[in-house]
C-alpha cells in the first residue's frame, strides 16, 4: 500500500509518521506543501506540528496551501485522508470535517497518555479492530473539539464520531476528558467515512520502549483493511 505524508513548513511529526507507516508496511512518500500534485496513494496523511507557525488560527494557512487542493480532490473522490493533531485542525479548516478545535480548557499545552474508546467501526480505519479501548498519546494546545448543536446532531446521527476520550475502563466523563472537548470527542469522520481527524498520535506509540504500543494496533488494522 502506498501512503503520502504532506510536509508543511512547521510540521514536526512528519518524520515520526513516516517511520510508523514504513514500520507497518506502507510504501511512504513525503510530499512538499508547495507541490501541486500528489503521488499515487492509498492514504494521505496530514501530520502533527505547527504548520505555518499556527499563525492566524491553527491549521488555517495550511488549509489554503497549494497542495491542499489536491488533497481535497483526492478526499472527494473517496480517497483515505488521515489528519493527526495539527492535521485534524487543518481538516476542519478546509471544511472536510465539521467543527473546530479550540484552545484546551485549562489553557495549557498537554502532553500525556490518554485512553480513547472506538465509537464507529464502520470505516477503513477501525473496521475489525481487536481492541475497544486504545491507550494513545496527546500533545497539543488546541484540541478542545467544538461544533454547533445542529452539527453535533448530524455527526451523531451519521455515526461520524470516531473515538471518545475515556478512562482505562471506558468511562467517558469530565475526569477522562483531557482538554474540554465536547462530549469527550477525540476524533471524527466525514459522512462518507473516508476522512479521519483525531488529536491523539498513534505514531508515538509503536513499540514497547515508548509510551506504549497501542498505536501499532491502529496501523496494522488500517493496513489490513486497505488490503481487503
Amino acid at each position: 500500500m502506498k501512503s503520502s505524508v504532506i510536509i508543511f513548513p512547521g510540521s514536526n511529526c512528519d518524520r515520526d509518521m513516516d517511520v510508523a507507516l514504513k514500520k507497518f508496511g506502507f510504501k511512504n512518500t513525503m510530499v512538499w506543501h508547495n507541490d501541486d500534485k500528489l503521488p499515487k496513494s492509498d492514504l494521505i496523511v496530514l501530520p502533527g506540528g505547527f504548520s505555518y507557525g499556527d499563525y492566524l488560527r491553527c491549521g488555517s494557512i495550511a488549509g489554503k496551501s497549494k497542495i491542499i487542493n489536491s488533497v481535497i480532490d483526492f478526499a472527494k473522490t473517496g480517497g483515505l485522508v488521515l489528519g493527526i493533531c495539527n492535521g485534524f485542525q487543518i481538516l476542519t479548516e478546509t471544511g472536510l470535517l465539521p467543527g473546530v478545535l479550540l484552545q484546551n480548557k485549562n489553557i495549557e499545552f498537554i502532553c500525556k497518555n490518554v485512553f480513547v474508546k472506538i465509537n464507529d467501526k464502520n470505516n477503513k480505519y477501525f473496521n475489525k479492530i481487536n481492541k475497544e479501548i486504545l491507550e494513545l498519546h496527546i500533545a497539543h494546545n488546541e484540541g478542545n473539539y467544538f461544533c454547533s448543536d445542529d452539527e453535533l446532531k448530524e455527526i451523531e446521527n451519521n455515526n461520524q464520531i470516531a473515538a471518545y476520550y475515556c478512562d482505562e475502563k471506558g468511562n467517558c466523563d469530565n475526569d477522562s476528558n483531557p482538554n474540554g472537548a465536547l462530549k469527550n470527542i477525540a476524533g471524527i469522520l466525514n459522512k462518507e467515512k473516508n476522512i479521519l481527524g483525531m488529536m491523539p498520535h498513534p505514531e508515538r506509540m509503536i513499540d514497547k520502549y515508548l509510551s506504549g504500543e497501542d498505536g501499532s494496533i491502529f496501523f496494522k488494522n488500517l493496513l489490513k483493511n486497505l488490503k481487503i
Binding site: P9, D16, F50, G53, Y55, E108, L210
Partner: protein
C-alpha cells in the same frame, strides 16, 4: 552623537575601560564603534571576571571531540555518531518578561547546537524561582514554563528532563538555564572559524528589528527598581522561523558549501562577525545597507546591537551563493550577501557609502579586559550536634509526608505535562526519572541526560558543593544504566565585584574541576551568568550541571520503578546519617547551619562503577540515586512510581533512625535485585570494597516499618503529587 566618558559609562563600560579603548584606537571611537566595544567587552561576551578561573576546568578526555570555546561541546558516542550539547542561562530576560525570556533562551541554545550541524534531539532545563509565597513567583513560573514549552513544542524537539527549585534568594532574580543535545555525524561538524579571504558573508533567517538592543549588557548588570523599563531589551522569539532555519541550515550543511557558521545570539551581528573573523585570524567587511531590516531607518548602531532572534551568519565557499539562496528561498527565509572576509584583520562596516566602523579584531577579542578579581575563601562551617530530644516528638510518617510535599522534592508533573516530551518518537525515559533518555534514531544506542544543582550545599561550602553537583549528575546518569561521558555547566552567581560572591564562584569552579578530573567526566561547554543580584541581594551560588551519558543497548536501560514483590532493595554506599544542610534539618529541625555532606570522590567513583558493573551483568531491576531527602524519600518515590509497597528491615546498631532515613550522605544508590541474585551481587560489591545495607523487600502495598507503622502508598502519592498543582491552580 559625540562619544565621551559619560556615554561610555552609559553603555556599561568602566572609566578605565573607556580609556583603554581610546588608547588602543589612538582616537575617540564613534558611537557605533563604542557600541561594538561595549557589546564585546561586557561580562556576558568577554568572560572578563571568570576567564582566569575557567582555565582550570577539566576539559579533556578520550571522547571529547570539541571542548569549550565553540558554539557547543561535542563528544564521540561511537560509530560515526557524536553528540553536540550545551547549557546556557537566560536569567535576566526571564525575570523581566518570563514568557519571551524563557522561550528565546530555548531558541538560543538550540541554535548553538544546530549551528554545528547537529539536529537537536532533546531539550532540558533547570529553573529556579523565589519563595512560593513571594508575590511574583507564581506568575514567573507560569510564564517560564509556557515560554519553554511554547518554543520547544513548536520546533518539535522533546523536553526530556529538568529541575525546578524554589528559594527566597531567587525572589528578585530567577534562573532559567536551557540545555540542548543534538546528534551529528562526526565527519560533518561545522565550526565558527572563518577561513580564506574574499569569501561571501551571508545573513540568513529573520529580519533585524530593534528588539534586544543592549540585551548582553543588560545581562551583565545588577537589577534595581527600574527593571520594568528594561522590557524592550528582551528579545521576542518566533519558533516557527527557527524551525525553518533549522531545516534550511541542515539542508545546506548536507554538502560542503559552508566554511563557517555562527548564530547571532548575545550581541547579535557584532559578536557573530567578530568571533568568526577572530577565530580565523581574518578581517571582515560588511555593508550594513544590505542587512534585511524589519523596521525603517535603522541606524548602524541599532543594526549591530540588535538581538533579534532566529538569525545566522555564514561564510560561504565562493560560487555557492546561488545554491544556498535556493534553499533559503524554499524555506521562505531572508538571504542576503552582506559582505566578505578580508585580510585586514579588522572589522570594517559601511553604511550609506560611509565607513562607520574600523576596529582591529584583536582589540575586541584578545585585548578585551581580563580581571583577576579579589575573592574570599569560604571556610567549612562547624559541625552541629543534634540533641536526642530534638527528635523525640517527631513522627517519621509526618516527616516523610512533609518532605515529599516540599516544593523542592515534590512531583513536577504539572510542569512537564506542558512540554512535548515524546515528539521524535525516541523518548524512552520521560521526565520524572533520574535522567531523561532518548534513543539514537535507527540504532541500538541511547543517550541519557540530566541537569542538577545544589545551591544550599554550594552556599554552605562552595568547594564541597561544586564537587557534589558533578557527583550527583554522574549518579543520575548511572541510575538509568548510562556510562557518564561529559558535562556542560551553567555558572549562575551574584556580583563578581563582591569578594564573597567571587569567592563562591572560584571555589565552586575548583570543586567542579576536581570532581570532573577524578571521575573522568570533562566539561565540554557552558556559560557564566554573573550579576544575579537585585538591590544588593544576590542569589545563592547556583552552578547547574548538565550531564550526558551513553547506553550502548537501549533495551538495557534502567528505571526507578520497583519491578516485583519479593525483590530486595540494597542501599549502595555507606550511610552515616549526615543531617546538616539536609532538607530534613531545614524543614523539620529549622536548622540552616553546618557543613554540607562530605564528598569522597574515591567512593563516588567506586560505587558508581560497581553499580554499572552490576547493571551490565543484569543484576539490577531498578535503581534510584539517593539525594535530597535521603533514603526514605528515595524509596517512597520508587514505590509511588510503581504503585508497589515496601517492607523495611529493622535498623542494625545504634543508628538514630532519623539520621539513617533522612541523612544526605553522598555516593549512594538504591538498587532492586532478585533474591536469587543476592549472592552474585554480594560478591561483586565485596570484591570492589563497596559498602551496602539490605534496606528491605518489595511488597504489594504500603510502606511498612519494623515497628509496625504502615503508610499507604496512595497517601504518600497525594503528598508527593498534589503540592505543585494545588499551588498553581489556587
Amino acid at each position: 552623537m559625540t562619544v565621551n566618558e559619560k556615554v561610555a559609562i552609559d553603555h556599561g563600560l568602566k572609566k578605565d575601560e573607556y580609556k583603554k579603548i581610546c588608547d588602543l584606537l589612538k582616537r575617540t571611537p564613534n558611537i557605533t564603534e563604542l557600541a561594538i566595544f561595549s557589546a564585546m567587552w561586557n561580562e556576558h561576551c568577554s568572560y572578563k571576571s571568570s576567564r582566569k578561573h575557567l582555565k582550570n576546568l577539566h576539559t579533556k578526555g578520550k571522547k571529547v571531540i570539541q571542548g569549550p570555546g565553540e558554539n557547543a561541546g561535542v563528544i564521540d558516542i561511537g560509530d560515526d555518531d557524536a553528540i553536540v550539547f550545551k547549557i546556557e542561562s537566560h536569567n535576566h530576560p526571564s525575570f523581566i518578561e518570563p514568557y519571551q525570556g524563557a522561550a528565546t533562551g530555548v531558541g538560543g541554545i538550540m541554535r548553538d547546537v544546530f549551528t554545528m550541524g547537529a539536529r537537536p534531539i532533546a531539550n532540558l532545563n533547570s529553573i529556579h524561582f523565589g519563595s512560593p509565597q513571594h508575590k511574583k513567583t507564581k506568575n514567573l513560573l507560569r510564564g517560564v514554563v509556557k515560554g519553554i514549552g511554547g518554543y520547544g513544542n513548536c520546533i518539535g524537539v522533546p523536553t526530556i528532563a529538568g529541575q525546578t527549585n524554589f528559594d527566597d534568594s531567587y525572589n528578585g532574580n530567577i534562573l532559567v538555564n536551557a540545555m540542548t543535545l543534538g546528534l551529528v555525524n562526526k565527519k560533518k561538524i561545522f565550526y565558527s572559524k572563518a577561513a580564506g579571504i574574499n569569501k561571501p558573508v551571508i545573513y540568513v533567517g529573520s529580519k533585524t528589528g530593534r528588539d534586544g538592543i543592549h540585551g548582553a549588557s543588560m545581562a551583565s548588570a545588577v537589577f534595581d527598581d527600574k527593571i520594568e523599563e528594561k522590557k524592550p531589551t528582551v528579545q521576542v522569539g518566533d519558533p516557527f522561523t527557527e524551525k525553518l532555519l533549522l531545516e534550511a541550515c541542515l539542508e545546506l550543511m548536507a554538502d560542503d558549501s559552508i566554511i563557517s557558521i555562527q548564530d547571532m545570539g548575545a550581541a547579535g551581528l557584532t559578536s557573530s562577525s567578530v568571533e568568526m573573523a577572530s577565530k580565523g585570524k581574518l578581517g571582515i567587511e560588511l555593508n550594513l545597507n544590505k542587512v534585511p531590516c524589519r523596521e525603517e531607518k535603522m541606524s548602524p548602531y541599532e543594526i549591530m546591537l540588535s538581538e533579534s532572534q532566529e538569525r545566522m551568519l555564514i561564510v560561504l565557499e565562493s560560487g555557492k551563493e546561488e545554491k544556498a539562496k535556493k534553499i533559503f528561498d524554499k524555506w521562505d527565509l531572508d538571504f542576503a550577501i552582506i559582505g566578505k572576509t578580508t585580510n585586514s584583520k579588522k572589522i570594517e562596516l559601511y553604511f550609506d557609502e560611509e565607513k562607520v566602523c574600523d576596529i582591529p579584531i584583536d582589540f575586541l577579542a584578545e585585548n578585551a579586559p581580563v580581571y583577576d578579581r579579589k575573592w574570599k575563601k569560604i571556610k567549612l562551617p562547624q559541625s552541629i550536634k543534634f540533641k536526642k530530644q530534638e527528635f523525640k516528638s517527631l513522627k517519621i510518617e509526618n516527616c516523610l509526608k512533609k518532605l515529599l510535599s516540599h516544593q523542592n522534592i515534590c512531583d513536577k508533573q504539572w510542569i512537564w505535562d506542558q512540554y512535548d516530551h515524546t515528539v521524535m518518537g525516541d523518548t524512552i525515559q520521560k521526565p520524572g526519572g533520574d535522567s531523561g533518555v532518548v534513543r539514537i534514531h535507527g540504532t541500538s544506542k541511547a543517550v541519557a541526560a540530566s541537569v542538577d544543582s545544589s545551591a544550599l550545599y554550594c552556599f554552605a561550602h562552595p568547594l564541597s558543593g561544586g564537587k557534589q553537583i558533578v557527583c550527583e549528575s554522574w549518579r543520575n546518569l548511572i541510575s538509568v544504566g548510562a556510562e557518564p561521558i561529559a558535562i556542560t555547566n551553567c555558572l549562575n552567581f551574584g556580583n563578581p565585584e563582591k569578594e564573597k560572591n567571587m569567592g563562591e564562584f572560584v571555589e565552586c569552579v575548583q570543586g567542579i574541576s576536581e570532581a570532573c578530573k577524578y571521575l573522568d567526566f570533562p566539561v565540554v561547554s557552558g556559560n557564566v551568568s554573573f550579576y544575579n543580584e537585585t538591590k544588593d541581594k544576590g542569589i545563592k551560588p547556583t552552578p547547574s550541571i548538565g550531564g550526558v551519558g551513553i547506553i550502548k543497548d537501549y533495551k538495557n536501560m534502567i528505571s526507578m520503578d520497583l519491578k516485583n514483590s519479593g525483590n530486595i532493595v540494597l542501599v549502595i554506599g555507606k550511610t552515616i546519617g549526615h543531617l546538616e544542610q539536609s532538607i530534613f534539618a531545614r524543614e523539620i529541625l529549622s536548622e540552616k547551619k553546618g557543613p554540607p555532606p562530605e564528598v569522597n570522590l574515591f567512593n563516588e567513583k567506586n560505587n558508581g562503577l560497581t553499580v554499572l558493573k552490576m547493571m551490565n551483568e543484569k543484576l539490577v531491576e531498578s535503581c534510584h540515586d539517593i539525594s535530597l531527602g535521603g533514603i526514605l524519600v528515595a524509596i517512597s518515590k520508587m514505590c509511588i512510581k510503581s504503585k508497589k509497597g515496601f517492607k523495611l528491615n529493622q535498623l542494625k546498631g545504634l543508628v538514630n533512625k532519623f539520621e539513617y532515613f533522612f541523612g544526605e550522605d553522598q555516593a549512594r544508590y538504591l538498587i532492586e535485585i532478585r533474591k536469587e541474585n543476592l549472592s552474585k551481587a554480594d560478591k561483586i560489591l565485596k570484591g570492589n570494597s563497596v559498602h551496602y545495607d539490605e534496606l528491605g523487600s518489595v511488597i504489594d502495598k504500603n510502606i511498612e516499618f519494623s515497628d509496625e507503622i504502615k503508610l499507604s502508598i496512595d497517601d504518600l502519592e497525594k503528598s508527593y503529587k498534589n503540592w505543585l498543582r494545588k499551588y498553581m491552580v489556587n
